[in-house]
Symmetry: C2
Subunit: 201 residues, 2 copies
DNA sequence: GTTTCACCATAACGAGCGTTACAGTAGGCG
DNA sequence: CGCCTACTGTAACGCTCGTTATGGTGAAAC
């Protein structure tokens, strides 16, 4: 908007500050003051940009959704093999973590347990679920698996398992367990080769 | 304690009320007043039994832990086959849901995202993790799988995946996906037969 | 130079909530 | 009877936190 600002605009600073704090400390546990202080923004400015804390939360989730969506697109653009493309969710999670320094599980999973029904951020949670289920099914069809719906559901199970385990290991480190995302990819791949592609016993 | 009380004692009523409300609406979102009203207990009585809301939360988690532990024990006592015993986590979840009317994912998973570090309820979350990892590894050893650690980690991945998906489907119903716990059991069983038990290609 | 726009700093308001205090009641028991 | 225990009901305190209001700064626009 303003070409003047030497540093980033207030809205951007608010969004990154909110992203860090909401993600690390939880949404409900993070006060507006903490976000304002980290962003170096005055209250009036924030309420000019967002519809209160709820609006800021919604914008934060939209931001995460866009970043996740774009990351998956990038990974997908580099793959040709249909099975690789079907398993790309896990590679996308890897790259997303690498980009955003994400080490505490899934932001949407945490938000799903924190946000009440009707919260303005809920549509982005639904969008995330829709993206996952829809795209996994498309890719399963393209990969020519026997039952695309079942394959998508199984992939989704492994995906959520990886994220949930990441979240749990954050608070209770389970040494020697290895990377849950890597393991989830392996399990999903094994399931696909044994039952997904037409390989009758 | 008191043989007099015609109905259950105040402590019991508080615990069940807290269990329902904390589980359905979240811990942070549930006010003490709501628990008191549902339990039909005055504030003074509650603070005589528990160390504030945090103490009530801790007692609630202890209660859930005990119930979960006991349920798994019951299921385990009915099984003899080593592989069935290894897969009993999922059957135990089934029975637990049936007993407690549990339909919104895992209470510990939700609590893990809500409770701050150092909260008096954290030990019970750690106990749950420890029970899972420890027991799964024991059962894996007893089942004679090739790599007990890897088998336990894989089972744990499927387990958390089932619970996380249950939680997500609560807010965003994914019709036609079937029961995540059932699916997790199937995936885990398939993984075991293909790689767990000594069945070299 | 004046207007305008985006923004900062501080303070204050108002609601919600965890907590405590203060009386008052019903039943078991010596 | 009187004592003790377990409990109820209401009210109030104190604090946090989201929100709003007020005055002021600095830089681009014309």
């Amino acid at each position: 908007m303003t070409p003047t600002a030497a540093s980033r605009t207030a809205r951007e600073r608010l969004l990154t500050a909110a992203g860090e704090l909401f993600y690390e400390s939880g949404i409900a546990a993070t006060g507006v003051d903490a976000v304002l202080q980290r962003a170096g923004v005055s209250p009036a400015t924030m309420y000019a940009h967002f519809a209160g804390k709820d609006g800021l939360v919604a914008a934060y989730l939209e931001d995460r959704y866009s970043a996740w969506h774009a990351t998956w697109d990038d990974v997908l653009a580099e793959l040709d093999d249909p099975v690789d493309r079907l398993l790309s969710v896990f590679d996308a999670v890897d790259r997303y973590r690498q980009r955003e320094g994400n080490r505490r599980g899934c932001a949407f999973l945490a938000a799903a347990t924190e946000l009440p029904p009707g919260h303005p951020g809920q549509p982005w949670l639904a969008a995330d679920s829709l993206l996952l289920t829809g795209r996994l099914r498309e890719l399963a069809v393209a990969a020519g698996v026997d039952d695309p719906d079942e394959a998508a559901a199984t992939l989704l199970l492994c995906y959520d398992g990886a994220l949930a385990r990441s979240a749990r290991e954050w608070t209770t480190p389970d040494l020697g367990a290895g990377d849950p995302v890597r393991r989830a990819r392996d399990v999903a791949a094994a399931w696909l080769t044994s039952r997904g592609t037409g390989a009758p016993a």
